[in-house]
């Protein structure tokens, strides 16, 4: 980089004020005008704090102990609060992860977009309106006029993130800080928003600092990245070098944690399927108003799916595709309005008790799926409560064994969920589900809340257990990378219907439906090389 620097961070260190624990340690990097620069790291790596320091928006408990941040030749750390305010928004824009909370729910979109313009420009009201409409149109909002008077809750997560992007780009800042801008969105929307962000910023000459745990996504759009671990930069360089020739062990570990296609297995499909859902229809009741009941909303339009013994079937699709509803219906948490579900060839309502014993579920959010008032041991033991034929002592023994199997030793048994990390909690959730030795398991986004390296460990654990006990599994996920690693067969859903299904290699290599191709274009195929690096290959949409 020989050209002038837009932003230069030198030896930045941050610590938690009261405990003097260093959370960001001697971090330095430069960003050139118009460049897209990536910061990659897992939770706790300090990446978000480091970037919040760029605009002096650190939480009060965090204190800067060293370093300087030079933006356009001025030291941000020495600026007055007044100067900072006129710089934020106008010169440095911010996009955060959570589109649900980053827009004010009680203000119309029009007023929120106008706020920044009114503050930082001299445009008249009419000029502002024209600008806002043009920008909303550019970010792909279908009815910009209507959007002005609409409230944030009327838009989906992806649309909200577009609006957020519009509000930031209206001011044409010189630098955009995007902190996990698409993590909360599903794969297809994620890619659309990213493409839009890149297109807009390139057109305006805005530099971007893109912060994410998602290494392939960052690699796709950046030319240079830094990798952070525990508050330090462990590796910095061109994206290609870091991917293909990683030097630091942590970078190698990150790369080797990326999901990669497992070996194809042959599944015996001649015998009757373990679970068979036939023509499932699910209607959600319409919104009730004072006088009349709204029309019911159909979430599933007659969906059929078979899962054979020992088979892992992945159910993929964007949000709103009905994949979670189908999983929950099969789990018995949602009542079907039509169709039937067979377990080992018999209607499941003939013997619910038996079905319950044999069909278990792992939930997405390990923070809310474990009762916070129960110890790990009692959580697993509870799963055995209704299992007939084994006594108390045997149940306790089985609970300990199962914990051991998921990699949690006896010293975890008496802890509470809040004392465990997200990955450990998900291990408990898996232990609870398999303790009964079910024939069939439903896993609803079981790893999407986890960090990359933890996700790899949990997936490996899951595959090992699946091989050992041979349970069938319905694996629900929007992350096709994960699906590619674990699934035998893939079922693609869109708008409450199954649009394509087939064995994994067929779907991934020769997808037929356009929607499937769009899903696949959001994730790279990985080629491992002998130096521990990878080459990413992006699939084409058409």
């Amino acid at each position: 980089m020989t050209q002038e620097k837009l932003l230069s961070v030198k030896n930045l260190s941050l610590e938690i004020a009261r405990r003097s624990a260093t959370v960001v340690n001697d971090v330095s990097f430069d960003v050139a005008p118009g460049e897209i620069f990536g910061i990659v790291g897992e939770s706790g790596s300090g990446k978000s704090l480091a970037t919040r320091a760029l605009v002096s928006l650190l939480p009060p408990v965090i204190r800067q102990t060293a370093g300087e941040i030079i933006f356009k030749g001025r030291d941000v750390t020495a600026m007055s609060e007044k100067d900072l305010r006129s710089m934020r928004g106008a010169e440095i824009g911010l996009v955060f992860q959570e589109p649900m909370t980053s827009l004010n729910p009680s203000m119309t979109i029009g007023r929120q977009l106008e706020e920044g313009l009114a503050l930082h420009s001299r445009a008249t009201q009419d000029e502002r309106r024209t600008k806002i409409l043009a920008m909303l149109h550019r970010v792909g909002i279908r009815d910009p006029e209507g959007a002005l008077t609409a409230y944030p809750h009327e838009f989906s997560g992806g649309m909200r993130q577009r609006i957020m992007l519009a509000s930031v780009m209206l001011l044409k800042p010189a630098l955009l800080i995007a902190d996990e801008p698409t993590t909360a969105l599903d794969a297809v929307v994620q890619r659309d928003v990213m493409e839009l962000m890149v297109e807009l910023t390139q057109a305006e000459g805005t530099a971007v600092v893109l912060i994410s745990h998602d290494l392939p996504m960052v690699a796709r759009y950046t030319s240079r990245i830094v990798v952070m671990e525990k508050g330090r930069i462990v590796e910095a360089g061109s994206t290609e070098d870091i991917l293909e020739r990683p030097q630091h062990p942590y970078t190698r570990r990150l790369l080797s944690s990326l999901p990669i296609r497992g070996a194809a297995r042959t599944i015996e499909t001649a015998s009757a399927p373990v679970v068979s859902a036939r023509n499932i229809v699910v209607d959600y009741p319409g919104r009730k108003s004072l006088l009349k009941k709204g029309a019911p909303k159909r979430a599933l339009h007659g969906v059929s799916i078979d899962i054979h013994a020992g088979e892992v079937v992945a159910l993929v699709g964007g949000s709103g595709s009905g994949k979670t509803t189908l999983g929950r219906t099969i789990a018995g948490l949602v009542r079907e309005s039509g169709g039937e579900i067979l377990f080992e060839g018999r209607r499941r309502d003939i013997d619910w008790q038996d079905y319950r014993l044999n069909c278990q579920m792992v939930f997405q959010d390990p923070y809310s799926s474990l009762d916070p008032r129960m110890t790990i041991l009692s959580l697993v033991e509870e799963a055995l409560r209704l299992v007939p034929g084994i006594d108390r002592a045997a149940k306790r023994k089985r609970a300990y064994e199962t914990l051991e199997e998921v990699g949690l030793g006896a010293d975890y048994a008496l802890r509470y969920p809040h004392e465990l990390s997200g990955g450990q909690r998900q291990r408990v959730a898996i232990a609870r589900a398999i303790a009964r030795r079910p024939r069939f398991l439903i896993a609803d986004e079981p790893v999407s809340a986890l960090d990359v390296t933890v996700r790899a460990q949990v997936l490996t654990l899951f595959s090992d257990l699946q091989k050992r006990y041979g349970f069938s599994c319905l694996f629900i996920s929007h992350d096709l990378g994960v699906v590619e690693q674990v699934a035998d067969r893939v079922v693609v859903m869109q708008d409450g219907r199954i649009i394509e299904e087939g064995d994994r290699d067929t779907i991934f290599d020769t997808p037929k439906q356009a929607y499937t191709r769009r899903l696949l274009s959001a994730i790279p195929a990985l080629d491992l090389n002998e130096t521990g690096g990878v080459r990413l290959k992006w699939r084409l949409e058409t």
């Binding site: 789990a331 018995g332 948490l333 619910w352 008790q353 319950r356 014993l357 069909c359 278990q360 579920m361 939930f363 997405q364 959010d365 809310s368 799926s369 474990l370 009762d371 916070p372 008032r373 509870e382 799963a383 409560r385 209704l386 509470y416 809040h418 004392e419 959730a429 609870r432």
Partner: protein
């Protein structure tokens, strides 16, 4: 890890003192609290009568000790009644939702809209002005707010995934309610119950002050306060000491309640 915070400790000491005094008074008081003595009317606090005597020459300290009994009884039983009834109603209402919830909450809200002390006054007229009348009246008056709080907690809890996990395991509704929902409601219940204990003592005092509580000559802090009112200018201790007892007890209860909530929630353990 500290077992209790400093505040919790202060609260604990105050409440322990209340309980010890109440228990002691069952066996021993410095004087007979009912014994009239016309020679020692309105005696100021001193060596003989530590906290002075009232207009009939009865020993204030002894009467306060007996009054502590009444407070503990009335406070404890009132809260017990409100907690049991309120939790039950709240659990059923929050868990069943739909029509049952609608009906229960309509009645509940109607009761809530009615001032608690007025409701208690009305109920006292039915039950009769005595110790048990007060307990029933206040217990019923406090039940709606407890039901409301428990229902709110249940509504938010039942959307959590661990409740669904319990259903997937095949656990029955009642088991799920008792094993997963109720224990997670304990924190708000404890906090509300401790403040209710305070309210109950205060309301008992207020009702007795109005002459609708425990009838004289049996002493309670409230009717002592009421009886002392005409003499405040000559004998300030008649109002001061019962008032102080009420204030300290409320303080102790509130401090203890906060500390208890922190202890009861496993998520709070180990944080400090």
């Amino acid at each position: 890890m500290k077992f209790f915070s400093l505040n919790g400790l202060i609260g604990g000491v105050l409440i322990a003192a209340l309980l010890i005094v109440a228990a002691t008074s069952l066996f021993w008081t410095p004087f007979d609290p009912m014994k009239l003595s016309f020679t020692a009317r309105l005696a100021a606090p001193g060596a003989q009568h530590l906290l002075g005597t009232d207009e009939f020459g009865r020993d204030v300290l002894s009467r306060l000790m007996i009054g502590a009994q009444a407070s503990v009884w009335i406070g404890g039983l009132t809260v017990g009644l409100a907690v049991i009834a309120g939790t039950l109603i709240g659990l059923i209402s929050g868990y069943a939702r739909g029509v049952i919830d609608g009906v229960i909450m309509a009645i509940n809200n109607a009761l809530l809209a009615f001032p608690g002390i007025l409701l208690a006054l009305g109920l006292l007229a039915v039950f009769g002005a005595n110790q048990y009348g007060i307990i029933f009246a206040l217990g019923i008056a406090y039940t709606p707010s407890m039901a409301r709080v428990v229902r709110g907690a249940v509504l938010s809890l039942r959307e959590r995934e661990f409740i669904e996990a319990s259903r997937v395991m095949g656990n029955g509704e009642i088991y799920t309610m008792l094993r997963h929902i109720l224990p997670n409601c304990l924190a708000p219940i404890t906090v509300l119950a401790t403040s209710m204990f305070g309210w109950a003592i205060l309301s008992e005092s207020a009702l007795s002050f109005l002459g609708l509580g425990v009838p004289p000559p049996a002493p309670t802090w409230g009717n002592m306060l009421a009886a002392g009112r005409p003499f405040l200018e000559q004998a300030v201790w008649l109002g001061l000491f019962p008032g102080l007892c009420i204030a300290l007890t409320l303080l102790g209860i509130n401090l203890l309640g906060d500390a208890l909530r922190d202890r009861l929630d496993p998520r709070m353990r180990g944080l400090k």
